[in-house]
């Protein structure tokens, strides 16, 4: 393709919490500084900075990208903000990848931040504007409706029960007990999920990830620089992104085609022909438990409608054939919208280096994937990482 090889060489992350005292700038700095320190770089070494953060309406700061810039180390540097809703966190390293692969930068700092707690009465209120202002908002919808509508269609299409889906929440919240950033890690059972408050049937409270504040960062480097900085670079071998129509009620809600489109782009680039066999560990986006299953199928990691059965069989546990969300995912670690995707990328980075501590999946994985999803349920972003 003519693009240079790019590696992730360092990472940083804050705790994910419901309400942080820090400003968004301070959270960004905490994650970015940790990322630079992790690979022994100073701010002077950074050529370019790219930052992802979701709607300005969460933090309540207009032109949030510009506001966060100095906490992201962008002082007098080339800087861009990107934003694709919940897909942002996986788009962040893709955006940084362009900067380095093109030859424009040798070292790019990639940051993702969200401070949702400033938004009252509840950050969910800011999501109201995701619906069409004329044909949908007058019905006073909430974001949970869209998920509930999609979850119901998915369940009906494949004959999946709420209990099948609840297993994902149990798995991920349990996995998150081993993640130092985790906001809502806990040991629960399927019965706990089913007994939790019904918000919008079929969605119960424990089916959902929380609103969160948090930030994450990674350092990308060109091949020449990466090999000097670390003996364990993790290569970005595939990037993919695709968006579907905003007329969401006309889409097949049982299948995320835009995730498949993004995945194919990433797999083509990475030379992956059989993702179910060649991907050793994956972090699909799981803001709701059914989304992990939905996304596994869109990523072609299993046949359509089969993800729930495989989960029940332990296929996706940390010691299963294809560990899914070993970090604990959004459901367990938390969901500061843009930072979540980058948390997942960082998890794959650590897994491929054998540095995931108690979360480490066995078998020395060498190929992993992170995926996020967002906007009006229409954006897919996929990144394929390898250690070799």
């Amino acid at each position: 393709m003519g693009m240079r090889k790019v590696a992730i060489v360092g990472a940083g992350i804050t705790k994910f919490v419901r309400r942080a005292q820090e400003t968004g700038k301070e959270l960004s700095w905490q994650a970015s500084k940790m990322a630079l320190d992790s690979c022994g770089l100073s701010l002077d070494d950074v050529d370019m900075v790219t930052l992802g953060t979701a709607p300005d309406a969460f933090d309540g700061v207009h032109m949030k990208g510009e506001y966060l810039a100095d906490g992201a180390g962008a002082h007098r540097k080339p800087y861009m903000r990107h934003y694709v809703g919940g897909g942002t966190g996986v788009f962040s390293p893709i955006h940084g990848w362009f900067h380095v692969a093109s030859g424009m930068a040798d070292i790019c700092l990639v940051v993702a931040e969200e401070k949702m707690s400033s938004c009252h009465p509840h950050p969910q209120g800011a999501f109201l504007t995701i619906f069409d202002h004329t044909t949908e908002q007058p019905l006073k919808p909430t974001l949970i409706w869209i998920f509930a509508l999609e979850m119901n269609r998915y369940m009906q299409t494949y004959g999946i029960s709420k209990a099948d889906i609840a297993r994902v929440s149990v798995k991920n919240k349990g996995n998150a007990l081993d993640h130092p950033s985790a906001q809502v890690a806990e040991k629960i059972t399927v019965e706990d999920v089913l007994a939790s408050e019904t918000l919008c049937w079929p969605v119960n409270r424990l089916d959902i990830s929380p609103a969160s504040d948090g930030a994450a960062a990674v350092v990308l480097a060109s091949e020449r620089v990466a090999r000097r900085l670390t003996d364990k670079p993790v290569w970005i071998d595939g990037v993919g992104f695709a968006i579907d129509t905003a007329y969401w009620a006309t889409r097949d809600l049982a299948y995320p085609r835009y995730v498949e489109t993004a995945a194919r782009m990433a797999y083509d680039m990475a030379g992956i022909k059989e993702p179910a066999k060649e991907i050793h560990v994956a972090e699909p986006y799981d803001p709701f438990d059914y989304k992990e299953l939905h996304h596994m199928e869109g990523l072609m990691l299993c046949p359509r409608g089969e993800a729930a059965r495989l989960t029940a069989e332990g296929y996706t546990a940390r010691d299963g054939n294809l560990p899914i969300c070993p970090s604990g995912g959004a459901l367990g670690v938390g969901n500061p919208i843009a930072a979540t995707g980058l948390m997942k990328v960082i998890e794959i980075f650590l897994q491929l280096r054998g540095e995931a501590g108690k979360r480490q999946v066995p078998g020395k994985p060498t190929c992993g994937l992170a995926q996020a999803w967002g906007d009006l349920m229409q954006m897919g972003t996929v990144i394929v990482l390898r250690s070799h």
């Binding site: 990472a11 992350i13 209120g125 004329t134 049937w201 948090g214």
Partner: protein, 185 residues
């Protein structure tokens, strides 16, 4: 690097920290009012709703009959060609039973749940759905595939809005089914 050995940033606060003023804060209540241009398509859509009719647009290249109507086809990337009235009946593609309002507040114990749905409108291309509400039906009796009809506001109460349709109700009263676990809670 091992996350377990790093000191992570982020200082968690509780809601009581705010209530008891343990942290200093400042408030802003923005005045964010908008007047969104409807454009030609939605302008006509609303005008027709006021008359008790649903109107769509047709693309002669892909032959889709599209709702909500639009002046360009996003698949063929060309202007759409003509208007077409569609029915005010349809089929439930999916639905939810909601006990939560837009701002995450809970509906009171005596308030009936809201029932948002995606309804595929008869006369439009298959799969062409719009979001609206269901009504005059017990939550336990709603099914995917259920045939529904729009219930309109009285003509004098209509203003040219999506809410000129109050909700969609089943065309035939559904026979009471075994309660689906958990829906009513």
């Amino acid at each position: 690097m091992d996350l377990d050995t790093c000191e992570l940033g982020g200082t968690p606060l509780k809601s009581s920290d705010f209530e008891k003023c343990k942290v200093l804060t400042t408030e802003w209540k923005p005045n964010l009012g908008y007047a969104w241009d409807n454009g030609v398509a939605i302008g006509r859509y609303l005008a027709e709703l006021k008359e008790g009719r649903i109107i769509a647009r047709v693309c002669h290249e892909c032959h889709r009959i599209m709702l909500p109507p639009r002046m360009f086809c996003e698949l063929c990337f060309r202007p759409t060609d003509e208007w077409a009235y569609v029915e005010d009946t349809g089929v439930v593609n999916t639905f939810s039973i909601a006990r939560v309002n837009w701002d995450a507040s809970r509906r009171g114990p005596k308030e009936p749940p809201l029932m948002p749905a995606v309804i595929e409108i008869d006369g439009a291309t298959k799969g062409m759905g719009i979001m609206h509400m269901l009504g005059e039906v017990d939550p336990d009796d709603v099914t995917i595939g259920m045939k529904v009809r729009a219930v309109w506001k009285k003509p004098e109460d209509r203003t040219g809005a999506i809410t000129d349709i109050l909700y969609f109700k089943p065309i035939r009263a559904a026979a009471p089914k075994k309660a689906a676990a958990g829906r009513k809670r």
